[in-house]
Symmetry: C3
Subunit: 358 residues, 3 copies
């Protein structure tokens, strides 16, 4: 793809020649001829100029990219074309998607796959080796179901999805369009609910609901999304979930939510749109995280807690500022103790002096 075409595609302003061919994206340090990279923030520019200066001296240029995506206020002269864009990292992601399309195998239904006769398989679908698709299930157009994935009965999977190896989608779950499920993901297992029956132990609470995953969701390796006990568990459109995350029964997650690795969300908790949840966060059941909340890694949200918009951290979760102040106070405890003891000692000494003069 020629530089001028990339500038067009990204709606950016080309500065320099537009005829170089770009074959790949790369990091600033690693990019070679015919590769494009980006500078995220203006503060990196000085560093680059230095690098350029060094390069001049030693005569081996440090930046070998054939083109850079730069912020609009960038004006350092560079010996290769740059494209000015509003958000270079976003532009880089967009052009990367064009230059590096996912390596999808050609449409094929592998002869070893076990597909129910009444399952509906769309157009241009790839079904890999050792895949199962159960009765009355439907796989949308251009969807990839990689080797070893197990799709239960009554499952609906939309168009353009990628279901990686050894994924398991249990009966009756619904998955939208352009969803990516990474290896080992399990959608729709029984939730974890029991009722104690005295000495006899636990009786399973009914786990007969379902999971609905809306369009454009991506779910990381070995993440678990349990079905609703009686109703549904729902993951909203455009939400991205990392590896090894636990989403319990009846959880509702809104649109464009980010959840980092190893976080666990207990039953019936609601996370509204546009939240960002760090890694290893734990949330009790029936909590409510309001739209726009950002929760730091390893934080703990108590059952039933309402977390409003803003940045939160700690267990139990607190506004970040409060948490930091508290941490500072705890860290300062030793000094505080010394100070107070010193003041009291001084007061006592003065008191003794007063007593004596008296």
């Amino acid at each position: 793809m020629r530089v001028e075409k990339i500038a067009d595609f990204l709606d950016g302003k080309l500065c320099g020649a537009g005829d170089a061919e770009i074959f790949a994206v790369a990091s600033l340090e690693k990019a070679q001829t015919n590769e494009i990279s980006f500078i995220e923030k203006i503060e990196k520019i000085e560093k680059i100029e230095n690098i350029e200066k060094i390069s001049d001296t030693i005569n081996t240029p440090q930046i070998n990219a054939s083109c850079l995506l730069v912020p609009e206020n960038f004006d350092a002269p560079l010996p290769f074309p740059v494209i000015k864009v509003k958000n270079p990292k976003l532009a880089f992601a967009k052009i990367a998607a064009v230059l590096h399309p996912p390596k999808n195998p050609a449409p094929e239904i592998h002869k070893s796959a076990v597909i129910a006769e009444n399952a509906l398989i769309g157009k241009d679908v790839f079904v890999g080796a050792f895949v199962c698709v159960g009765e009355n299930s439907r796989i949308g157009d251009r969807t990839q179901v990689r080797a070893g994935a197990k799709i239960g009965a009554g499952v609906k999977i939309g168009d353009g999805c990628t279901i990686h190896s050894n994924v398991c989608v249990e009966d009756d779950c619904v998955i939208g369009d352009n969803v990516i499920l990474h290896a080992g993901v399990c959608i729709g297992a029984d939730g974890f609910g029991y009722v104690r029956d005295g000495e006899r132990g636990y009786v399973k609470f009914p786990q007969i609901g379902t999971v609905i995953i809306e369009d454009d969701v991506e779910i990381g390796v070995n993440t678990c999304i349990d079905k609703g006990a009686l109703g549904e568990t729902r993951i909203g459109r455009g939400t991205k979930i990392d590896n090894l995350v636990q989403i319990a029964h009846n959880v509702k997650i809104g649109e464009r939510v980010i959840i980092a690795a190893q976080t666990g969300i207990s039953g019936s908790t609601v996370i509204e749109d546009d939240c960002i949840i760090g890694g290893q966060v734990g949330m009790g059941d029936h909590a409510l995280v309001k739209s726009g909340a950002i929760i730091g890694s390893q934080a703990g949200v108590l059952p039933g807690k309402i977390v409003r918009a803003g940045v939160w951290w700690g267990t139990p979760v607190q506004p970040l500022d409060e948490y930091k102040r508290q941490n500072a106070r705890v860290k300062g405890l030793g000094r505080l103790k010394e100070e107070i003891k010193e003041e009291i000692k001084e007061l006592k000494k003065q008191m003794v002096g007063l007593g004596r003069t008296h």
Copy 2:
């Protein structure tokens, strides 16, 4: 199932007509005609009466269930039959198990399964596609081994079990009756034990033990139960373990223990009967959790620690009351500091006054 038959089955007291047919359970809000629901606690009744009152006004009844399971002291008049029982939630779980039996496929040995010639397969067993069963292994009557599960050599699996897709049971493990292993569970992998050999790095400590899982255990998606290094790892009868839990080598877990998602138990730790362990709890090795202990989510139990009956929280784990008091003190630190400074300032002022009058 007719309402009067359900009342009989649950040993409850029917108030109202017994002839309605019930086909399904549902939550109170969602239940429709021919469905049964439940009210867990008496405090919910007032809420319902209000709902009923509203319904009268707007002429669309809010509760559409054909029958409710209610506590024995329930006496609000409702326009449909109720069944009074000691524990409505438990009764609901029991009737749900009857109305919604697990959707098990009919007994079948899929032709693609690879089963050792000397493996013993019981009566009415389901073995799905792409399953492996190793030499000298035994699968009990009515057990389900779903697609893609891998059963090693010398494994014993009891009657009435459900082994979900892509489960892995390593050689020589023993699994009792009515055990449920959810997708991606791995039973009997090597424990994590090494001995440092100076500069050369780590030598594997022998991991040649086994895992024994007793009857009525349920284990969640992608949970790992490592085999004993030299002896056994054991999960006691009726214990329920959630998703993504880590149970290390030689751990012994008693009967009727509940372990929520993402908790990790280090090597040789013992958890006695009837404990409840929250999510994301971490336990060091050789700890002992005594019968009846309840440990809150994200708590940390130090190696070798003995945790007695009672409620515990925090890292390192403390009795809940102590932990709460400590948290309150930490939260009050800022105010405490102000108060003390104020008192000292006041004392100084008085002192100056005294000095002056003197």
Copy 3:
């Protein structure tokens, strides 16, 4: 293997007869005739002597092993041969590896395996049922690829590896010699990186790098190692990683590092050689853990933090001593408050006294 041969093999000093045959290793308590065990530290000896004394009395010896590996300074007389070695636990691990070699199935390519025509399969390789090996991939000599493992295209796996059931190695990853990947491990999935595009939600940042796993690495069940976004994720030689660990894109882990279960390492973080990381530790992105650091379980390392050699604990991570002092101060807060209030009360009383006498 005869005791004298074991003493030779371990370069230890045999005390007692060398002709007993040893068939197995076992723990001290469980070892029977023809089994060998070990005593790790000298402090255990007294315990044993007591046991022996008791045994004499009741005439049933408590230690039934036919041989013990003991420290060099051991000199209690025992009624069976002992072998004195520098590090008995290490010696035990080494002899266990000889007496209990891994139970590898004989070389075989299972007829159900789907192997690309241009894949290179080495000598004496085992490929189990329902395995896939993609185009241009290479499997080294004596490597085991167990049932259901999925090896992508362009993957290189070295000699003597064990790839357990249902492992997934994505395209173009490189795995060295003698690597063990336990069941459900996923190597080379997309990292978790997105760029926000205003109201439209998130655009995937390119995830087009790879994973390199060096020789002698062992990786636990269901652990995830994501590929680099643009570069590589690398696990150094001899490093051991436990179950359910998350290693994000572009992480670099050095040689002989130990990482316990459920720990999560965020993008681009570097862990140098010979570190020990406990379980459930969380590390932010771009952190640097210097060689020789030891980080306690459940600790949290902030993004960009540099952790030097030494022992660390807590969130945010602190030197262990500091953390303990801080914990002690927090625990002592209640008492401190009482003490100070008491002192101030006393001062006030004295002040009143002074005022009065005045």
